[in-house]
């Protein structure tokens, strides 16, 4: 027997949200289509909460939280879920740190135990902290192998003067080389408290049973002092900024970034629709597999890719707690100067800033986004992610009412968002020019013998 369709009921309206006495926010949603359960534990701490000299500490702390607790030895942290065929992971970004497990439903109690241990009983063995320093630096260096990522880091840093969204989540290398075990542990203790967390359980479970188990594992963890929140606000940008990189490479890239509204801002959804018109509808799930947008009929794809100036274009507007960036990235076709691409890109952006979008475009992107929202809700893991993500960035109602809110966005609202956000003084332009790149890599030594 099949269970009834649930996708369009996948909203916080049908998910129950409660708060325990110690301040832990709990969201439970039953879904009985598969014998699985997904548990996500979210903390309101990300790279924006880091002080100068301590950049990257949130992400490094995330790594340490897989390295053993008082009651779970390091080498059992993963096996505890894998015994049930489960998958596990974690990620850190600018606003949030989160941990997840998805496994057979009979693993629920083990998963809740694991998350309660992670919240309260991390060990932070000094040798383990030291060993993880080089792992994190290796992760940073792997990212720096990618010219687009290097350009993104530099453009973001140039776009912000005052707000801590300016530094990358992985941190700056000198900070990673100098932070101490006590820095890590202090950060962990300040932010890993129930009144700074949201626990999400979605799957083939019974709500009352879930709540009983949560109370048993988390109920006795004491609340902590309310963490200090970021006070910095980015002042209005006074004029266009530029970053020009020249490095070894084989392709040229352009990135254009505009300061953009936060998720809860009424201008966020008009801008999301504008991005869909410019580069295709991506939806709003950072974690989903459906990230490749339908974009062939979008304005920038036609102007840049169909015209053969560029081999790809993508836009990015992600829901964030505070105002972040709307970015457009372009890969130049082999041999096309970046100046030509920049001119064509800015021309299209200028046209839409002056004239807005058409009624036919609005109809199309509303439909696209509606389909994306359905596709993104294709697993207990994805649904649990969305519920926790929007709760953590302070905009649960945006997700809960996403489809009706998208339907209500007007042409005038999109035009107003385009005119305000896409202004020349609000943008930072970055270029990556490849230099001294060998056209074919050199194979240096072949068939060297010996083990």
């Amino acid at each position: 027997m099949m269970t009834p369709p649930v996708a369009l009921a996948v909203s916080p309206a049908s998910a129950g949200t409660i708060t325990l006495d110690n301040g832990l926010t709990v969201i439970v949603q039953e879904m009985h289509a598969a014998p699985l359960v997904s548990v996500w534990c979210w903390y309101k701490v990300g790279s924006k909460d880091e002080q100068p000299g301590m950049t990257g500490v949130s992400h490094w702390v995330e790594h340490m939280n897989f390295k053993g607790t008082t009651n779970i030895p390091r080498d059992q942290m993963k096996g505890i879920v894998e015994q049930f065929g489960g998958t596990w992971n974690g990620y850190t970004w600018i606003d949030q740190t989160t941990y997840l497990e998805t496994a057979k439903r009979d693993a629920l109690d083990r998963m809740l135990f694991l998350e309660s241990e992670r919240m309260a009983n991390g060990i932070y063995d000094p040798d383990e902290c030291e060993s993880e320093r080089t792992v994190v630096i290796s992760e940073l260096q792997g990212g720096d192998n990618d010219p687009e990522q290097v350009l993104d880091t530099e453009v973001t840093a140039a776009a912000f003067k005052a707000h801590p969204y300016r530094h990358p989540t992985i941190g700056w290398l000198p900070d990673l080389q100098t932070m101490s075990r006590d820095d890590l542990y202090g950060h962990y203790r300040r932010y890993y408290i129930p009144n700074n967390a949201t626990l999400v359980v979605v799957g083939d479970v019974e709500t009352r049973d879930v709540l009983r188990r949560i109370d048993r594992h988390f109920g006795s963890i004491p609340a902590g002092p309310e963490p200090v929140r970021v006070r910095a606000k980015e002042p209005e940008q006074a004029g266009e900024r530029r970053v020009n990189l020249e490095r070894e490479g084989t392709a040229a890239y352009l990135k254009v970034a505009y300061h953009a509204p936060a998720a809860a801002d009424p201008e966020f959804l008009p801008l999301l629709l504008l991005d869909a018109v410019l580069t295709g509808a991506k939806g709003v799930n950072l974690w989903a597999s459906f990230r490749n947008p339908p974009q062939r009929s979008s304005r920038l794809y036609r102007a840049l890719v169909d015209s053969r100036l560029a081999s790809s274009v993508h836009g990015s507007l992600l829901p964030t707690e505070q105002p972040f960036l709307y970015t457009i990235g372009v890969t130049a076709s082999d041999g096309v100067p970046l100046g030509v691409i920049e001119e064509a890109t800015l021309h299209e952006l200028d046209v839409v800033a002056r004239r807005g979008i058409t009624a036919a475009e609005l109809t199309k992107v509303r439909r696209q986004l509606r389909a994306r929202v359905v596709f993104e809700a294709d697993s207990v893991t994805n649904i649990a992610h969305q519920l926790g993500y929007f709760q953590t960035i302070g905009a649960p109602e945006v997700y809960g009412e996403l489809v009706p809110r998208i339907e209500r966005v007007t042409l005038e609202q999109v035009a107003a968002a385009a005119a305000r956000v896409l202004a020349g003084r609000n943008r930072t332009i970055g270029t990556f020019e490849p230099v001294a790149a060998p056209s074919e890599p050199v194979m240096l030594s072949m068939m060297r013998a010996g083990a």
Binding site: A34, G79, G86, K104, S131, T134, D204, V305
Partner: protein, 425 residues
């Protein structure tokens, strides 16, 4: 109880024109996923024309006999359809996800795209430029370079699994429109395709819809390619690709594995889970990442196909650490060959692999891919239900025998891509 608890219940039908249809209803949400796999992968590239199959995949949906490229993209994008085309060694795949209400119209479009693409000269030239830029980007990516060059070294010259699927800049520059139409005419035929429909639609209705869309397509089938068994490398190779300016070097360290239908396949999956998967990269991750702090990633992966696939260890480290990382891989490979895996590791791995089956079959696209794989390798429609017992039956002796057949540090092929000639090894 859900369908997944009891196992998948696909319906299989072969249409009059030879098309195999697999349909499985799943009412998780009001969407349907369509997966079409044709025996027209890059292994069918003509000799000296590497990248033709991939090139076809980039142009095939850019105009048909009755719809222009613009009309196609409008029809798909107005409905928000998620649409992607890809090429494997043996199969060309087209997958898309649409709202249930749009399925009939989308099936018609998909059938047209596969049967009647026009390969307009304008589109061919535009997509050629994109492909070449993509290849140049890959030339700058140490992970891609190490992996592709390892693949090329593991197979003898000319073997279809050793070629660059996307071609090289030179081969792509030499591909003409006639090469694309000839490839399409030779290998795109209803008897070579499997159409899988998974989602919020009853199997009978899905099969009828596929029949209406594809039933009229007639085209001769052509032969099915079964590649020669590649001879395993007889000695150790180490190659270094110099990529200046890269802070991290990438290591690809590998062997030939076995055919998918070889009895040693599942024992090797078990061994690979212990060597480079369980926890955070198995024994390799424990040594290189957890104990030595050398790398963000260190793991192994196994692939098997109609002919032998590969078993490859990957790790990314600073150039100065390349030699130490290779020595650590050697040590773990030698240890698993020498000592095998422990009874506890065998039990943990079985529990993990069996337990993960429901999770691997949660989404429509996961179910569709699983059914297509089962069809391609002839594993049977009940493979998801038989698989737990097959995994449980694997013994320590089988694991050891299979491991010794595939792994041998003296015959490892190693490619390092990084700067400073990867710190001279």
């Amino acid at each position: 109880m859900s369908a997944v608890v009891e196992g998948l219940v696909p319906t299989r039908v072969v249409l009059d024109n030879g098309t195999t249809v697999l349909a499985h209803g799943s009412a998780l949400h009001p969407a349907v996923t369509l997966l079409v796999a044709l025996e027209a992968g890059s292994a069918y590239d003509p000799v000296g024309r590497d990248g033709v199959g991939h090139f076809v995949s980039r142009v095939i949906d850019r105009g048909t006999a009755t719809r222009t490229a613009d009309a196609l993209s409008h029809a798909l994008e107005f409905r928000g359809v998620s649409f992607s085309v890809g090429v494997g060694r043996h199969t060309f795949t087209l997958s898309c996800t649409c709202l249930t209400e749009d399925l009939v119209e989308i099936l018609e479009i998909v059938a047209e795209v596969l049967a009647e693409p026009i390969f307009s000269p304008h589109e061919v030239e535009t997509r050629r430029g994109e492909i070449i830029t993509g290849i140049r980007q890959d030339d700058d990516n140490p992970a891609t370079m190490a992996g592709e060059h390892l693949q090329a070294l593991l197979y003898p010259p000319g073997h279809p699994y050793g070629r660059f699927s996307r071609g090289t800049v030179a081969s792509v520059e030499g591909i003409r429109r006639a090469d694309l139409t000839a490839f399409h005419s030779a290998w795109f035929a209803p008897g070579r395709q499997t159409v899988v429909v998974v989602g919020d639609i009853a199997a009978g209705a899905a099969i009828d819809a596929v029949d209406r869309a594809f039933g009229g397509w007639r085209h001769p089938d052509g032969p099915i390619l079964v590649p020669q068994a590649p001879p395993p490398p007889v000695r150790r190779h180490v190659s270094v690709l110099d990529l200046p300016g890269k802070p991290q070097a990438d290591i690809a360290y590998g062997f030939l594995s076995v055919r998918r239908n070889d009895p040693d396949y599942l024992p090797l999956v078990v061994m690979n889970n212990v060597l480079g998967q369980y926890g955070l990269g198995g024994r390799l991750g424990d040594s290189i990442r957890e104990r030595q702090g050398m790398a963000y990633y260190a793991y192994s992966g196994i692939d098997a196909n109609l002919a032998s696939g590969t078993l490859v260890v990957r790790a990314g480290v600073t150039p100065e650490n390349v030699a130490r990382a290779i020595a650590s891989i050697d040590a773990e490979v030698a240890r698993i060959v020498e000592e095998g895996i422990t009874p506890q590791e065998l039990a943990d791995t079985k529990q993990y692999l069996v337990g993960s089956i429901p999770r691997m079959l949660e989404t429509n696209i996961e179910i569709a891919s699983f059914l297509q794989t089962a069809e391609f390798f002839g594993l049977g429609l009940d493979y998801d239900r038989r698989l737990p017992a097959l995994i449980e039956a694997v013994t320590l002796d089988q694991v050891q025998t299979a491991t010794r057949r595939v792994l041998d540090v003296q015959r490892a092929t190693i490619v390092v891509a990084g700067s400073g000639a990867a710190a001279r090894l």
